[in-house]
């Protein structure tokens, strides 16, 4: 399945082969939106893996991020808010040989979709979840999300966020995900490599991509425009190895990047098939 092409072979316009033929471009996303950057990294990763387009299902929920699959020439399933992982579980389990990639956002996956997120991790079903975290609800106009930092401004936290966020990667690891990584839209080569690892990994993989919503988060929190926010991701990214030596105070406001967790565990569809084989073996 993994056909790793060299840098020379993958051309810069490889993207164009994967865009949906009858869809209008450019995308509806704001100028400079990190969603587009993640989409590029994802396409390059899929191309390097040599996946057949018919074999890929992209599932998303609702939100700016969730508009991603519609633009690509795969089997795309744009579902209800928060429910992408549940639909994806059905699609994967029905035809386990398909590659199922879920594109979701911080609100979609962790608020309304929190329960499905936890259980998809628990089942360790072979789905790759790309969680594009822009710390806000972009599509509906800038409301707070479960990852909005404390004291940050949003339209529903106009005086500063009095809630605490949680960390999707820690949540995923605790719930049973077997590949968890985080990177930012600044570090595109690393993000692309991580996506390749995540898709190849047999089990539930989570890639959290830190992204910029300069239109809402940036404006409300004076974090700047797209360029300024992406520059800040570069400055505030800390590799995991270095982060282990830092104190919690030093880590405040930083993004710990890299592969955070990678283990091998039996996958859901494989276990089910083993059970079916045992059943058949017992009967015959």
């Amino acid at each position: 399945m993994a056909v790793t092409t060299t840098a020379e072979k993958q051309k810069s316009d490889v993207i164009l082969q994967y865009l949906r033929p009858r869809k209008k471009f450019p995308s509806v996303w704001c100028a400079g939106c990190g969603n587009g950057i993640v989409m590029g990294a994802l396409i390059r990763a899929i191309d390097r893996l040599g996946l057949a387009k018919d074999n890929v299902v992209m599932v998303s929920g609702i939100g700016c991020t969730s508009r991603l699959p519609v633009y690509l020439d795969f089997n795309s399933l744009h579902t209800a808010h928060g429910r992408a992982l549940a639909f994806a579980t059905g699609a994967k389990f029905a035809q386990p040989h398909m590659k199922v990639i879920v594109i979701t956002g911080d609100g979609d996956a962790l608020a309304i979709g929190g329960n499905h997120f936890i259980h998809a991790c628990r089942r360790n079903i072979d789905i790759t979840c790309v969680l594009i975290n822009n710390y806000i609800y972009g599509m509906t106009g800038g409301q707070g999300s479960p990852t909005t930092p404390p004291s940050a401004y949003s339209t529903t936290t106009p005086y500063g966020n009095s809630e605490k966020p949680f960390d999707p990667c820690s949540l995923a690891i605790a719930a049973g995900a077997t590949f968890v990584g985080r990177h930012t839209v600044h570090h595109t080569p690393q993000l692309e490599k991580m996506l390749i690892q995540a898709i190849e990994h047999r089990g539930f993989s989570l890639v959290e991509a830190i992204s910029n919503c300069h239109t809402y988060y940036g404006r409300l929190n004076r974090a700047g425009d797209a360029v300024a926010m992406i520059k800040s991701f570069k400055e505030n990214a800390v590799m995991l190895a270095k982060a282990k030596e830092m104190t919690p105070e030093e880590l405040r406001g930083k993004h710990v990047v890299g592969v955070l967790h990678e283990i091998e565990k039996s996958e859901f569809c494989d276990e089910y098939q083993l059970m079916v084989d045992r059943l058949k073996g017992g009967q015959s």
Partner: protein
């Protein structure tokens, strides 16, 4: 037909599983809820034996989502629940309506609202089967009244779902779900099994939501070469979201007329002693069993009464009800709720007919005695 058909004492819920598998069920995702849990358990035991897949999801919302995902992927899929679970599912059932995805939802009805009466019967989700989710759409719902009929109506539900590319609700009263009766299991080939129509054009010319002659678009499975977009947003014939009035209205028209145009073929009634009836009972599900006994007793006493049993509740059989009750002066609608189908009957029949209703909503079924008492009052 072999004379020695397999006969067995079977529970209603188990019969439902049997009918579903006969119709081609190969994917079940569900969540336990009384009084439907036996259906999930039955599928958990039977589906792995035949290469099918069973998964217990984390809640009802995830269950119906997984069912829709599996159906789009290409398997016939079903879930079973009761009132509170159905309420949770309605959003994604609406998604199935909008995306025209075939699937079957069994609602083993119990007392409501809210947690209500987990172990007692009602028919109070009848209207919810029609109007549960938001927006404009046309629903199909069927109601068996015995364990044997649970098998046949479940098969029919799958066939309707595949034929019309729509979710179909089976309104199975708790009493029927849990009771045991002798049934003859259907032989292979005894009942027709309908599968979704697949596209024949090459992928480059495939229009996923094409407006065909019968308004039902051919539906491919995943991994057959057809890559298309499925979305819950109102979409054009290519499956892309649209804001244009000249694409929105045709889509909604398609959802409505693809079913309403064929109401006569979807309608299924059982008509007893209506030829010379002056009074008619209209009933469905459990109440129909009671009504059949009541009218035979009444006829012996010389009362000209008949019964119309609805197997297809939605779309409501306007024309047939109007025709059947044309010669009746009075109509009695019997339901285990505070009056739901009676409103449809009132809508359909002319104003000069007297429409009475007998309702029982204390968790018990209507008895023949109660129906006969009502008949006395009305005469």
């Amino acid at each position: 037909m072999s004379a020695l058909k397999q006969r067995r004492l079977m529970q209603g819920n188990a019969a439902c599983v049997h009918g579903a598998i006969y119709a081609g069920l190969r994917f079940y995702a569900g969540y336990p809820i009384t009084p439907s849990t036996e259906i999930a358990e039955g599928c958990a035991r039977e589906l792995p034996k035949i290469g099918g897949r069973f998964i217990q999801m984390e809640d009802e919302i995830a269950s119906i989502a997984a069912v829709v995902g599996a159906s789009i992927s290409g398997l016939k899929a079903m879930t079973a629940t009761s009132g509170p679970g159905f309420s949770l599912m309605v959003e994604n059932i609406g998604y199935a309506y909008m995306t025209e995805t075939p699937c079957v939802v069994i609602n083993v009805q119990r007392g409501g609202p809210s947690t209500g009466l987990p172990t007692k019967v009602s028919q109070s989700d009848t209207m919810q089967a029609r109007w549960g989710t938001h927006g404009d759409y046309t629903a199909i719902a069927v109601a068996p009244s015995s364990v044997a009929e649970t098998i046949t109506e479940t098969i029919r539900a799958f066939n309707l779902a595949e034929r019309f590319r729509t979710p179909v609700t089976v309104l199975l009263d708790e009493v029927i779900g849990h009771m045991r009766e002798m049934v003859s299991l259907p032989e292979p080939g005894e009942y027709p099994v309908v599968n979704r129509v697949k596209p024949t054009v090459p992928p480059e010319r495939f229009v996923p939501f094409e407006v065909t002659e019968n308004l039902v678009s051919p539906m491919p499975c995943y991994n057959e070469g057809y890559r298309y977009n499925v979305t819950g947003l109102t979409h054009d014939t290519m499956g892309f979201a649209t804001n244009r009035s000249d694409e929105i209205a045709p889509k909604l028209d398609k959802l409505k007329y693809k079913i309403e145009r064929y109401t006569d073929e979807i309608t299924k009634l059982r008509v007893d002693m209506m030829d010379d009836a002056e009074i008619a009972f209209i009933s469905y599900g459990t109440v129909a069993r009671t009504a059949l006994q009541a009218i035979s007793i009444a006829r012996e006493a010389g009362v000209k009464v008949g019964n119309v049993q609805l197997y297809t509740i939605w779309p409501f059989p306007d024309r047939q009800i109007a025709e059947l009750c044309a010669c009746c002066r009075k109509v009695i609608v019997g339901e285990l709720n505070m009056g739901q189908i009676v409103h449809e009957v009132r809508r359909v029949l002319p104003h000069d007919k007297q429409i009475h209703t007998i309702q029982r909503y204390d968790g018990e079924i209507l008895t023949p005695h109660q129906l006969l008492q009502k008949l006395d009052e009305v005469l």
